[in-house]
Amino acid sequence: METSILNRLNKTAEKYADKVMFKDEHGQITFGEFNALTKVIGTALAKLVPCGAPVAVMSGRHIMTPACFLGAVRAGCFYAPMDGDMPQARLNQICGVIQADIMLVDKAHLETARSLDFDGQIIVMEDVLDTQPDEELLSERESTLVCTSPLYVIFTSGSTGVPKGVITSHQSLMCYIDSVAKVLRIDDTDTLGNQSPLDYIAAIRDIYLPISFGASTYIIPKNEFAVPTTLFETLNREKITALCWSVAGVEIPAKLGAFDVGKPEYLKKLCFSGSVMPCKYLKIWQEHLPDVLYVNQYGPTEATASCTYYVVEEKVDDDTVLPIGKPYDNYRVFLLNEDNTPTKQGEQGEICVTGPILALGYYGNHEQTDKVFMQNPLNDKYRELIYKTGDLGSFDENGVLHFHGRKDRQIKHLGHRIELGEIEETAKKIAGVTDCCALYYKEKATLYLFYTGDAGAKDITIYFRQNMPAFMVPRKLVALEKLPALPNGKTDMQTLKGYFK
């Protein structure tokens, strides 16, 4: 049995030494070169931090970034990726949670790193590339890793206003990667087209499918999604065969009419996740690419990116609602009622998941961890943790799971998970906002903020742009004399939804 992801990297680096592993618009790197680079970076880090320590990594959208991640792992550590394009205030919050002694950055992000409330040591990746790899030190560090050691901490929205760091182990990651590769039939002939930011959960497939199976990944330049005609040209030039994209990423080319001028000729498989797929856009993909394997995937970061998958075999219509399907290998998925009793077949309950894919919890946050990672209420014989997703689902007579939305106020917007409570907590910090309510207009994929007070729309937007990631900035701001209230004093959200336009 494998003890860490490094077992896999060691093997693929040898087997595919001269094959391209990662490529971006500026260059490429082979498996052999990549592996050597992780040893260089790993040695530099191992001289500075003990094993088991967190390494914050802030590096851009290029081929060196995955090497920074795995360099931290080579040092016997785990990494916490940070998106340098996020506002300073958000990055400071993340630094506050992770409390790393060391931050590895690329040169382009040095200035950003220096501007943060971070009192540890900043290491510039480009400056350590002349380090002599110390094989003895590295193999000593590698031997400290067990399959339950943390691999990374990835941050997601938290309802209290502070982001939560989900800790994932080597074992969980490998279980998921193996399961998804089996469904998508990924092997060393595949080239993936990376859409997700590299610090985000959805990028783990683009990073770890190459490490595990010898596939290659092309990192697509970010602004090609704004101009989708060149996007398809790129997919064809790079002979991309597999895409694991957010639903939003799949929608954009279809929405902007990219199929009128071309199509991805080499594409064989398309896996999408992150939110509910509007089938009018999937239909366009199917019409132009009928032989592609389409897979709808569902699941949270807390269960290593996913839980269930559904292979779309039927031709969809505009109003088709796709099921979320069956559990991946090594995932056990079941439903619980409000009172923690089992949900009957056909009825709605909360989707719960267990297995070796459960996250290790939220970094430095026992309270939140214990709230959602709990003893299986159906098992009083031995310790069995489950994760309650907060999503509602039902199983049909064929054991296929269907999705019915959220129990709470978490939404999925543009592929990102957002707590509406976090938007409100942020808005309340703005001078001139007295009270507010954030709501999501799903049909138009628009975040609304209804507020009282004398703040102008511009003040609010600028504050959000400075403090929150772009996907968390409300697009429509509506000033009201007073928020409508229910008899119990709570905000009347149904009335507010009547103001959507």
Binding site: N223, A226, T229, A248, L256, I462
Partner: protein, 75 residues
């Protein structure tokens, strides 16, 4: 042009559309902004922005967008 500025201002009140000339190239506007913007411009000016029009040159500045709108209105 005023109507365009109003749409842009509402879309991204934090951006200086009067002076920015590399909105796409510098990544000031992202793909989600463009999707929202294309829909609004099509409706507001009764035009149809085609995929071929979606190149950075046409969206890098408010002026460039206005030229595109005028061009499409003439068709």
């Amino acid at each position: 042009m005023d109507e365009l500025m109003q749409i842009l201002e509402e879309l991204r009140p934090d951006v200086d559309f009067e002076n920015e000339t590399a909105l796409i190239t510098d990544g000031v506007l992202d793909s989600f902004d463009i999707v929202a913007l294309v829909g609004e411009l099509n409706d507001a000016f009764d035009i149809e922005i085609k995929p071929n029009n979606l190149v950075p040159d046409n969206f890098n500045s408010a002026k460039a967008m206005w030229n595109l709108i005028e061009e499409l209105q003439d068709e």
